[in-house]
């Protein structure tokens, strides 16, 4: 055995040469077996399988459920839940939670309304909403990261604080925004699939790349998994947390823009249902509530699943009063299922 040890490649691009080719970590057969025995696979399969089952059941009960018009309108309805679930995924991956997400949507729509009233161009109004979300996220992240206060308490406080600011600045009155360019993304689309849904999917792809293909993403997973180990490996834990919550808040801002586009006015009253559905979608999507383990596809499918469930029940003539009850049951069932997989 030689006295020298092999070195890992230095950060610059070092061609790995023939050794990389030899390093086939395992044969295909082994990989497949490992994959099937993998509990992650089952966690990840829950939401897609449930979605397929739900679609089959509802379309048997009412064939109109699967018509193109109904399908595209349900996908459009799932836009805001998807965007908020994407944001919530970042908080949950950090082993945290953002309870202020729904009130961030409300505040974002209020600030957007203020900008509109001030006569600013629509793209600036949209930017104001996004910026509002980013600021709320930064506030949460800074207090959680440096104040070392549990995320639950911080965002509970922020939820009320943000709600209050929204109500005070708007006096509780919605601002009408009759603007064709604003409603454009909610009305038009490609082949019936609305632009708002496509935007949500594009954001999902972007955030997937951020989480799984960047250093920041890897650090976020590590911090969510084990804060002490992350510190020992010299990760800047507070900064990573800050960035995670900024992304989460930013998605709240995007949610505000899409909501305003959808209903054509600001909405100062917080719709707590948004928060519930975002967290539910994340849990359904197989993201670990203990942090460190996430997917982006899962929460998207989870959000679509919850929207389809609600729309399907409406189509069947079930009273809307039943939908919170059902969503609650689905969330707890999903959480129990995932716990078994820990």
């Amino acid at each position: 055995m030689s006295g020298t040890l092999t070195r890992p490649a230095e950060t610059a691009a070092t061609p790995s040469g023939p050794s990389a080719a030899q390093a086939r970590p395992a044969s295909r057969g082994q990989a497949l077996r490992r994959h099937l025995g993998n509990e992650d696979l089952w966690t990840r399969a829950t939401a897609p399988v449930a979605l397929v089952v739900l679609v089959i059941v509802f379309s048997i009960l009412n064939p109109r459920f699967l018509s193109w018009a109904s399908l595209t309108s349900m996908l459009a309805d799932s836009t805001i839940p998807i965007v908020l679930a994407l944001g919530a995924t970042f908080a949950v991956t950090l082993a945290g939670i953002d309870l202020s997400l729904a009130s961030t949507v409300a505040l974002g729509s209020v600030t957007m309304g203020l900008a509109y009233d001030a006569g600013l161009p629509m793209w600036v109004c949209a930017f104001v909403a996004l910026f509002t979300g980013l600021v709320v996220g930064a506030f949460n992240g800074a207090i959680i990261g440096w104040g070392r206060i549990p995320d639950f308490i911080v965002t509970l406080g922020t939820m009320s604080l943000v709600m209050g600011v929204g109500l005070i600045t708007s006096q509780g009155k919605p601002v009408q925004m009759p603007d064709a360019s604003l409603s454009f993304v909610s009305v038009h689309g490609i082949g019936g699939i609305r632009y708002n849904f496509l935007i949500a999917i594009a954001l999902g792809v972007l955030l997937h790349v951020v989480l799984f293909h960047t250093r920041f993403g890897m650090h976020l997973l590590a911090v969510g998994d084990n804060t002490d180990a992350s510190k020992a490996m010299a990760l800047r834990v507070s900064r990573v947390k800050l960035a995670g919550y900024v992304i989460c808040g930013g998605m709240g801002g995007v949610g505000a823009i899409l909501l305003t586009s959808y209903i054509g006015s600001s909405q100062p009253a917080t719709n707590t249902d948004y928060l519930l559905r975002a967290i539910a979608a994340v849990v359904l999507g197989g993201v670990s509530l203990f942090g460190g383990r996430a997917t982006m596809v899962g929460p998207i499918i989870g959000a679509i699943l919850l929207t389809f469930l609600q729309s399907g029940l409406t189509l069947l003539g079930v009273s809307a009063f039943y939908s919170p009850l059902l969503i609650g049951i689905v969330v707890i069932a999903a959480a129990l299922l995932m716990r078994g997989r820990k």
Binding site: G3, T6, P8, A23, P25, F212, R215, L221, D228
Partner: protein, 249 residues
């Protein structure tokens, strides 16, 4: 004895009312294996963390290669080529073996601030490196949570060895290992030293200390009470020094 790689002078550290270190001093010779022994709670891990930048000492000086250093993060120690295998291993359970090996030292490609991970390259490099280290690390794509205690320890050791550029600090590296794996790790430590690096090892295993080290420091109640050349001391004398039954050889 050769020049000192690290010198610790009168380092103190208190946690609230606990005096973990009450004036610890020792030196670690360049290119040697130095051991620290002592009972549970003697302050060994705290001293290690002070040396590697994880805990800032309250007072006292630490010199690396003859010049005083004030590490405020393990990154500073790393920049001096010092790697650490912590007693708690500092692994992220949900991340795979290769992700743990490359954490905070990821290989990326891209333009300017837009950088993407070279996942495939890190994976295959990790595989090649751990095979070369001849420690019992399983498939590098597996999440760490599915490894046995000994395998986890092997991952942490592999990470330390693969990045060390001058010195490696190991806090009870073979605590969870079987006989064969312990021998492998000892072989690896010897290779590291043969390659010219310095090793500091904390161990409760006096046989191991006798087998491996050239110098041994004894800690008791937050202080370094004695330091001897390992060749000049028997296993029984080491036990006596640790318990305080004897104070010098």
């Amino acid at each position: 004895m050769s020049a000192a790689k690290v010198e610790v002078r009168d380092v103190r550290k208190t946690f609230g009312s606990v005096e973990a270190l009450r004036g610890a001093s020792l030196s670690i010779a360049q290119g040697e294996i130095t051991a620290i022994v002592g009972d549970n709670g003697a302050g060994k891990s705290t001293l290690v963390k002070c040396i590697t930048g994880l805990i800032p000492p309250d007072t006292g000086d630490i010199l690396v290669d003859g010049s005083p250093v004030h590490f405020s993060s393990p990154k500073d120690a790393r920049d001096h080529g010092i790697e650490t295998v912590y007693q708690d291993l500092a692994l992220c359970d949900q991340l795979s073996v290769w992700q743990n090996l490359y954490l905070d030292r990821e290989l990326t490609r891209g333009f300017g601030p837009v950088q993407f991970l070279r996942r495939r390259q890190m994976r295959s490099e990790a595989h090649r490196l751990v095979s070369d280290l001849a420690v019992n690390v399983p498939h590098v794509g597996r999440p760490v949570r599915r490894l046995s205690g000994g395998q986890r320890q092997a991952v942490a050791i592999a990470r330390g060895v693969m990045w060390a550029r001058g010195m490696i600090v190991l806090d009870e590296p073979t605590a969870a290992l079987g006989l064969r794996e312990t021998a492998q790790v000892e072989g690896l430590i010897r290779r590291v030293v043969d390659a010219g690096q310095t090793v500091l090892v904390v161990s409760h295993n006096f046989e191991q200390v006798k087998r491996l080290s050239s110098q041994v420091w004894v800690m008791r109640a937050g202080a370094v009470v004695t330091g001897v050349r390992t060749a000049d001391v028997t296993g029984e004398e080491l036990v006596g020094l640790v318990t305080g039954a004897i104070t010098a050889v």
